[in-house]
């Protein structure tokens, strides 16, 4: 399927302006994120949000600017990637040891993985799924139960939980052979509620109290609860999980990119465009639909495991219908079928309610209003889905 590969600009000619645009975009993005994480003053938070909204409106008004930036990233792909990796690796050193900021980063990255996972379905194949919170929960509970009852280490619980979540995702995918659209949405909602209610009521899952005392992972004798020392700089213990979840995000991005460019991604896109036409082209629509559910659950299982071992305490309240809706909102607000958009959406929607804590009780209200406002300002998501480009390379 070499002809299918998405290509960059025709000739990757070196251009200083493009490089500068890439560097400026990434540095400004990282700086804005750092500022947003560390700041406490509500005026600055609202200010940053307003600036963000203005940028979105501007991008909406002047598509040329957007195209220029996109082009720059396309032509300077290797440079952009190297810089991004450096920024991700170096980011913890700029956080001034603020444990809360580290915590937010870890959670945001886990949500980024969940959103990327959901993106396979919602973005690529346009299959609604309100059960990703349930897959997340299954991953977390299976790994926690294995660790608590069997004494399995984190590194073994991780694949086990992912497999369990995948099986559950597969089962959930089966009704998708027959139902579609709103009806399928309800099947997934129902599945999510059933899983949540079972976790809440069964005895071995600890009921509403959840599971407590999940052991901290270790790697080469280094406990993840002890501070991480790199080059003589001591980072808080959350940094361990920061790098772990960053690794998971990186794997997910790689996974997503490869899938998008493969026959599978193309089949999913064909499903989104027109299911009947896809079937006429010889695409086994049933298999690809079920596969989308399984892949989503697989990655969600990973994220769930890391969450369980990171927080050390899980309860059904972490995996409700609203969790699934939040993940769904991340994908849609960020931009369907756009990897960068989904990640930005995940960070924004994780950090927003946390940072709106200054409004104390009103934060959920603000959260809802902000989501609606973003959907109105930019209906296609922050970074809209782009057309596949076919060509050489």
């Amino acid at each position: 399927m070499s002809t299918v590969a998405k290509t960059g600009a025709p000739a990757a000619s070196f251009s200083l302006t493009s490089l500068l645009i890439v560097v400026a975009c990434e540095l400004i993005g990282a700086a804005a994120l750092r500022e947003f994480l560390l700041v406490d003053d509500w005026r600055v938070i609202v200010g940053l949000l307003v600036v963000f909204a203005i940028i979105l409106v501007a991008m909406q008004r002047f598509p040329a600017v957007e195209h220029r930036i996109e082009d720059a990233f396309d032509t300077q792909k290797p440079a952009a990637m190297v810089l991004a990796i450096i920024i991700v690796l170096g980011f913890p050193f700029t956080l001034e040891g603020n444990t809360y900021a580290f915590h937010l980063c870890v959670i945001a990255q886990l949500y980024a993985v969940l959103a990327l996972a959901l993106n396979f379905q919602l973005g690529s194949a346009n299959i609604p799924n309100f059960a990703s919170g349930a897959s997340y929960g299954i991953g977390a509970y299976v790994s926690a139960l294995l660790a608590l009852n069997v004494g399995l280490s984190f590194w073994l619980a991780l694949p086990a939980a992912a497999i369990a979540a995948t099986v559950a995702g597969f089962l959930l995918g089966l009704p998708s052979m027959r139902t579609r659209d709103s009806y399928l949405a309800l099947v997934t909602i129902a599945f999510g509620v059933v899983v949540n209610q079972l976790l809440n009521n069964l005895d071995f899952t600890g009921g509403p109290n959840g599971l407590v005392g999940i052991p901290v992972p270790e790697l080469f004798g280094h406990s993840f609860s002890s501070p991480l020392v790199i080059f003589g700089v001591s980072l808080p213990s959350q940094a361990n999980f920061y790098y772990l979840s960053a690794l998971l995000v990186a794997i997910s991005i790689l996974f997503a990119g490869r899938l998008h460019n493969s026959r599978v991604g193309l089949a999913w896109n064909a499903l989104r465009a027109d299911e009947l036409a896809a079937r006429c082209q010889g695409i086994n629509t049933t298999w690809y639909k079920v596969l989308a559910f399984a892949v989503d659950a697989f990655l969600a299982g990973f994220a769930g495991t890391i969450y369980a071992f990171y927080v050390g305490f899980i309860s059904p309240d972490n995996f409700t219908f609203l969790t699934s809706v939040t993940i769904m909102t991340m994908v849609i607000a960020g931009g369907m079928d756009n990897i960068l958009g989904v990640i930005v959406g995940a960070f924004l929607l994780t950090l927003l309610p946390e940072k709106l804590r200054v409004f104390s009780d009103y934060r959920i209200l603000f959260f809802g209003v902000t989501v609606i406002a973003f959907l109105m300002i930019r209906p296609q998501g922050i970074f809209p889905q782009r057309l596949r480009r076919y060509g050489e390379r």
């Binding site: 919602l122 346009n126 609604p128 089966l174 009704p175 027959r178 139902t179 579609r180 659209d181 709103s182 009806y183 949405a185 309800l186 099947v187 909602i189 129902a190 599945f191 509620v193 059933v194 209610q197 079972l198 809440n200 009521n201 009947l276 219908f321 809706v325 769904m328 909102t329 849609i332 607000a333 009780d361 009103y362 959920i364 209200l365 959260f367 809802g368 209003v369 989501v371 609606i372 959907l375 109105m376 209906p379």
Partner: protein, 306 residues
């Protein structure tokens, strides 16, 4: 034993009628707009709060008049009308903008709208985070064939039947109903017949929200209690009932509600510890129905034409 059975049957009918009032709105809005108005449950449950607010306001300004049935009914009527208007306002402010957006976009927007509504109720209503007791406006019992039936249950069922009958009358016998059906069948053709879809959307929102409000008020009366987050469960169950019955079909929504309410009362009465497992059973039923009847019990089977 027979006593208990009749009691449960009564519970079933009351609960079924209440769910039906909400499910009908979901189905109606979907039929006309082709989007799922996920915040419909939240809109419906604003009504009991409005009614409570009206009752309290009246009680403080006219202490003499408070407590009389007429005043109570007036408050309820007011809350129902205001909720209908709230639906129209939401359509104007938010939902209008997602009319031509992808289905999922509209879905997420209305879910967020539901969150906003819930939070607004919580903050604007005095002491809104706590549960408030809700009057049953009609007390007393009547004896019928040896069974005591609370008058409230009778009133609830009668009102539900009247409201649904009214809806059927509007849809099938009036000019407005004809226009609504025209828009739901083909928006563009309706426009050619000089029907303004925008006007019809508003009218539909008013009708659906007002009927939902009746359901909301009776739900609060049935539970004797109202809390700002009741609407999550009520909305989900109402939506499920509409989908199980087949979106867009009014009789389907009613049958779906009766089915779900039946299982609900059955599980609570028979299964040990049933109250905590009721949602599990309800949603397993939903999955089962949709696996065997993918477009609901009475939904139009979609035939794709090429």
């Amino acid at each position: 034993m027979a006593d208990l059975l009749l009691q449960q049957l009564l519970n079933w009918v009351v609960l079924g009628s209440i769910y039906a009032l909400i499910a009908v709105g979901f189905s109606l809005l979907f039929g006309v707009l082709n989007i799922i108005h996920f915040s419909h449950g939240d809109v419906s449950l604003v009504a009991p709060f409005l009614a409570l607010g009206a009752i309290q306001a009246l009680a403080s300004s006219f202490p003499a008049a408070s407590g009389s049935l007429a005043v109570l009914l007036l408050c309820l009527l007011l809350s129902i009308l205001l909720t209908g208007l709230l639906g129209v306002v939401l359509e104007f402010l938010v939902i209008r903008r997602f009319r031509n957006a992808p289905v999922m976009m509209a879905l997420v927007a209305t879910v967020a709208l539901g969150i906003v509504l819930r939070e607004l109720v919580r903050h604007l209503f005095p002491n809104g985070s706590n549960p408030h007791s809700f009057p049953r406006f009609v007390g007393g019992h009547i004896e019928l064939a040896g069974v005591t039936i609370p008058l409230f249950s009778l009133v609830a069922v009668v009102c539900a039947v009247l409201a649904v009958a009214g809806l059927f009358f509007i849809l099938n016998k009036t000019r407005l109903g004809l226009q609504i059906r025209a828009v739901s069948q083909d928006r563009d053709a309706a426009r050619l017949m000089s029907i303004s879809p925008t006007r019809i959307f508003r009218a539909t929102f008013f009708v659906a929200s007002a009927i939902g409000a009746v359901g909301g008020v009776f739900f609060a009366g049935y539970a004797n209690l109202v809390r700002f987050d009741f609407s999550i469960d009520v909305g989900l169950i109402g939506f499920s009932a509409a989908v199980v019955g087949g979106l867009g079909s009014m009789p389907g929504a009613i049958i779906g509600s009766l089915l779900i309410a039946g299982l609900d009362t059955f599980v609570q009465a028979v299964v040990p510890n049933g109250a905590s497992y009721r949602l599990v059973f309800i949603f397993l039923l939903v999955i089962a129905v949709l696996v065997f009847k993918p477009s609901g019990l009475f939904g139009r089977t979609v035939v794709e034409k090429v």
